[in-house]
Amino acid sequence: MSVYHRPVSNIWWLKRKPYILFMIRELTSVFVAGYCIFLLVLVYKLTQGADAYGNFMVALKLPSSVALHLISLAFVLYHTITWFNLTPKILVLYRGEERIHQGLVAGTFYAVWAVISFMVVWLVLGV
């Protein structure tokens, strides 16, 4: 008997919202990786002396650079939030027969994130 194999279109991910959101999450990894490279470049410039670092800092203040940072921030936030929301699926904890509430697992990640972010702000701004 001949069975029919339905072809999968290249734009399958545009057909339903959850797939689009998944693809965006995948895309955000590029921005996360990009920012890691940026940090490495920053450290490299530091090793090149005060002038090189100073020029780099000036370049960073250009509107185009600020815009790129804001875009990256949005994508990295999307990446972080979507992954944090998935943590309870991976970290399944039990107290006896009771499963520990999923919100508590994700909430712990958000709390640690908030504390670390606060420490970074405190360090950078020296408040």
């Binding site: 001949s2 069975v3 399958w12 057909k15 959850p18 998944f22 699926k89 991976i90 027969e97």
Partner: protein, 250 residues
């Protein structure tokens, strides 16, 4: 005049056509009808040639899975009123080869279920003689895997999985969740044997965590979670092998 609704149904009759097509049927709209009732109405009153699967009509047998407007659903659990008055588009579950109309081939899924060895495996030396009775288990031990044991093999999770649609060698959500169901059972000792399939190239590492399998699952099995947890335990195994190679149990 009584209210009606349109159902646009995927048709494929291999003896007379090479390509599938869609056929639209007009059915009465009833508040208490599920999509399966409407399809049964078509079969009984309008067109007896339409082929599809169903049995229990109560979300237990897992045989009535179809795509409704691109979303995998049990046709016995999807109410017409949730779509009324729009037209509904019905297709066989995505990712599977179609045999006829809404009937798809499930051999691949069946093979994968058996590959996972879904039964309690004991080490030969630790098998109790029958007279010693059953292996006991506490409610807390049961709680650890109970969710993964609720699967009705409806295959909605496969239809929601783009990885499976693109590459059907992927073992897939329900089979891996079933493997985890036994791996996490306190009476079982067969994890090593199952790892050969679960942690293989076509196993958990194919999964990109789209997560839709868990969203469409009618029994709240959460296969996506089962797969991610299997990834964590396999990674832990790998680190243990690297750090304490002499500790490898056989």
């Amino acid at each position: 005049m009584a209210e009606t609704m349109k159902l646009e149904i995927f048709r494929y009759r291999p003896e007379k056509e090479k390509e599938p097509s869609f056929q639209t049927y007009k059915v009465p709209f009833r508040e208490d009808w599920v999509v399966l009732d409407a399809i049964n109405h078509i079969k009984d009153e309008i067109d007896g040639t339409l082929s599809y699967r169903w049995s229990c009509q109560m979300g237990v047998c897992g045989s009535c899975g179809i795509m409704i407007n691109n979303v995998p659903k049990l046709s016995c659990a999807a109410f017409l009123k949730d779509y009324y008055p729009d037209k509904i588009r019905i297709e066989p579950l995505t990712g599977f080869p179609v045999e006829r109309d809404l009937i798809f081939e499930m051999d691949d899924f069946m093979t994968k279920l058996t590959e996972i060895q879904p039964y309690i495996i004991r080490k030969e030396s630790e098998e109790k003689p029958l007279e010693e009775g059953e292996y006991l288990q506490s409610p807390a031990e049961l709680a650890h895997y109970k969710q993964y044991s609720m699967c009705i093999n409806c295959m909605l999770c496969y239809a929601a999985c783009p990885v499976y649609a693109l590459d059907s060698t992927f073992i897939g959500p329900a089979a891996i969740a079933l493997g985890q169901r036994y791996n996490m059972d306190s009476r079982d000792q067969g994890r090593d044997a199952r790892q050969e399939v679960i942690a293989s190239h076509d196993g958990i590492w194919e999964c990109t965590f789209v997560g839709e399998c868990s969203v469409v699952c009618p029994k709240d099995v959460d296969p996506a979670a089962a797969i991610q947890r299997a990834k964590v335990s396999s990674t832990v195994d790998w680190f243990k092998d690297i750090l304490i190679p002499w500790g490898k149990k056989k």
